[in-house]
Amino acid sequence: MATIFIDGRKIEFEEKGKTILDVARESGIYIPTLCDHDELESHGGCRMCIVEVEGMRGFPPACTTAAKDGMEVKTATDNLMTLKRNIMQLLLMEHPSACMVCAEQEGCNKYRPDPYKAGRVTGCTTCPNRYTCQLREVVEFLGIKDLDYLPGYKEIDVEREDPFFDRDYNLCILCARCIRVCDDVRGTSAITFVKRGHETRVDTSFGVSHIDSGCWFCGACIDVCPTGSLKPRMTKWTGAPDSVEESTCVLCSMGCQTQFTIKWERVMGSEPGALESAPNHGHMCVLGRFCIPSLVNAPDRIKSPHLRKEGDSVPVSWEEALGEVSRLLKEASPERVGFLGSPQMSSESAYVFHKLARAGVKSPNVDFQGSDFPALIHKELAVDQDFARIRELDYLKEVDWIISVGGDFVKDHQVVAKKVYKEVRQGKPLIVIGDAGANLHRWSTVHVSVQGKDIQKLLINLAEHSKKIPGTSYTQAQQLVEITGKGKGAVLVGPRILESIEPGLSLRALVRLAGVDGALFPLFPLGNEAGVIKAGLRPEMLPGPASITVKEAKALLEKAWGGGNLSDGLHLVEMRQKAQKGELDMLYIADGSISPEGFEKIPTIIYQSPYPSEWSDMASVILPSTTFVEESGTFINLELKPLKMKPIAKAPGTARQDWQIFAELGRLIGTDGFDHQTSEDIWEELSHFTRSIEVGGQKRRASWKPASKEKNDWYPRYRGAVIPERIEDLATFIKALPRRDTPLSDETLDELVKRVQKEHASRAKEVVS
């Protein structure tokens, strides 16, 4: 234990790489800072944290000075405060500061609390960052009431051309937080300081757009900016929220804890949750950061139940609609009814849906789209009961090396990428097999760009530590064997592993390669796939998940449900085939993302979703359900970790939560066991069933088909709503992605000189003529 005196206070601390600032903060002493951020390394740029240390020359910054035993530190002497005020005033010369020293400030804050919209920010009243400005906090702390220097406006054009957020560098104070988070934390380096001295700006290489500079629009720069320079375009003028709630985002399988700003009972904005909230720890991706408000507040959400009467779909009461649905379900012959759920439902909803099908209607035909990859994972891990290999992402810290197979995860799992980069930055080897974009190309220690069937051979040979590895050079093969030969590994596996001839063998080779203490991270492409699998929403599965062939699991379920059809049924592809032959009478579909192709002949379709889709034109009954911000339930992420969703916004019209609709239908059909009052009741019931997968139970799906063969198959959807079709900025971004994945240049410098000079000469000719 070391001792330090700060402003006369005696403080004891552990002398382990701590700075004076750390120690001061721990004991509640405020030292103003601007460039410092919890997640970033000390920068020492803003000079707001300068202190006096007995026996030390000058005024060292507290953020970069190590705290040592016996130090006597003063943080707020007159001398220091004068210095800080002067530094701040110099800074304010270039920052629109009229409001900060305005005599009317108090009244203005009281009577005009919301910033008003302006093309140019000229002061705090027109600044969208008015509520959360850290610069203003420091100005107020220093008590600056007047400016001694003549202020100037930098006259930089506000950049509005890129998707999602505006950049007004007239407000920038050059703290470098955005650059550091982009470079050091996210590993993207889409921005940098350009030029130096007075001309320094945050910019891209040659001023290209953010789309071309490799930005992923994760929003991390916005979240760390202490000023209003960076603001999401869509939400910047909504003013102060009524409340802020934390819940789970379901747009991919990460399950990010998200901070939603609520106003008028609607979601106005979404930001990453607190730094300490697992699994995402204060980071997000483009979908969660920018797309949620437009998605959940879409004006075309289904607002009331609809029944088709004389060819027209007309709004009706819930009573009438559910009466009709229960009559239809009761009258149907169970073998000729299909149930299709959604991987973006809560686990509870999927479970009640499953129960409604098997116990209520007595039909075994249940499935959901996108199920091949998670089902493969479950099947293959069942071989040796390896489920403990799926660990929390923080386990990446423990492993010795990381291997990624089956797709560029930077694109569709940006938060996973951030966690991987943290390890890569510390020197952990990363092996990338298959596609790699700009980020993975830079991060990878070894990148083998083999595709399809070669992946399998490569993995199997690698697992046997053989140096005969297809698609690699001698040095690469040697490196691969050397890296994977020792310690424990982490495997990131994406759905494109389904493209190898026998994905099961590839996956098992990976598990073997990682070692007994290794980890497996299956990067499920769609939301709650793990949760829906837990609810057993597959024809050959039961809740738990369990295989239908496991007698004990079947007996347990029969006892709990009091019977029901627990045999094997039709999966999605088979349902489509039957429908084409006219052998399916009814389809209850809760996911508009499934293609209706082949289902046209089904006489009765019940469509349940928050969003209209092609299915709404075919449906006899439409039931409006809620989105993930309006429902309670559990989301199971790719770490197989249950995360809670909370109803934080009001659903439009009379939309109800999925599980409420299913439970009500169960009651109307007259089946026992549908009297759940809350989603917790259902979770409790579902928790009784445990995992018991048997390999034999899944024989029928010996061949696995890739989800999509297209190269750029990342086209996010949410229950029938195609997100890029609704959000133009997202479409612009996704469209630009293939352009950015340029392969490694094989040109030599001389070849480059020739090419560029030729291009240049032809351009110059054009100018002259």
Binding site: D183, T188, S189, A190, I191, T192, F193, V194, K195, R196, T204, S205, F206, S213, G214, A438, H441, R442, V446, S473, T475, Q476, Q479, T742, L744, S745, D746, E747, T748, L749, D750, L752, V753, R755, V756, Q757, E759, H760, A764, V767, V768
Partner: protein, 174 residues
Amino acid sequence: MSLGLIPNPFMTSESRRESMAEQSAVELQHEVIPRLQEIQEKFGYIPQEAVEWLSSQLKVSSQEIYGVATFYNHFRFNPPGKHEIRVCLGTACHVGGGEKILDTLSERLGIQPGETTADERYSLERVACVGACALAPAVLLDDEVHGRMTQRSLKRLLDKVDRADKKAAKGSDE
């Protein structure tokens, strides 16, 4: 340029792939400035294509390379013109009115310091002391020092260059 023990990534493509694999990210990052110098030597400036090319060679983002390059005055981003004009803004020339000479040039040529005219005849640069303090303010035209510049002598100097160029162009046409 001496490369020491680090394999040169500028060798033929097959052997480069091999040797690239042996270099760590940090080693590659240390190569940024020497490579930029080499590029400037070959092109006379740093073109955007070369930054992108270097980024894929060294596994460093284009932004980082551009950030480093713009930090140093040594690197330029526009092709040098046929005539390179450098205006000295060292202490003596600054006091002697170098700033005004630069403004006049900038106005006449229609470019900012660091840029090249569209017809690529002139490029303009500001430099620190050229060692001709006694002749302040000084202007370097194609590495030839012209001292004690005034608005008038500047005009005369440029007119002379224009005339000579025109005559040369006519000569080559005939």
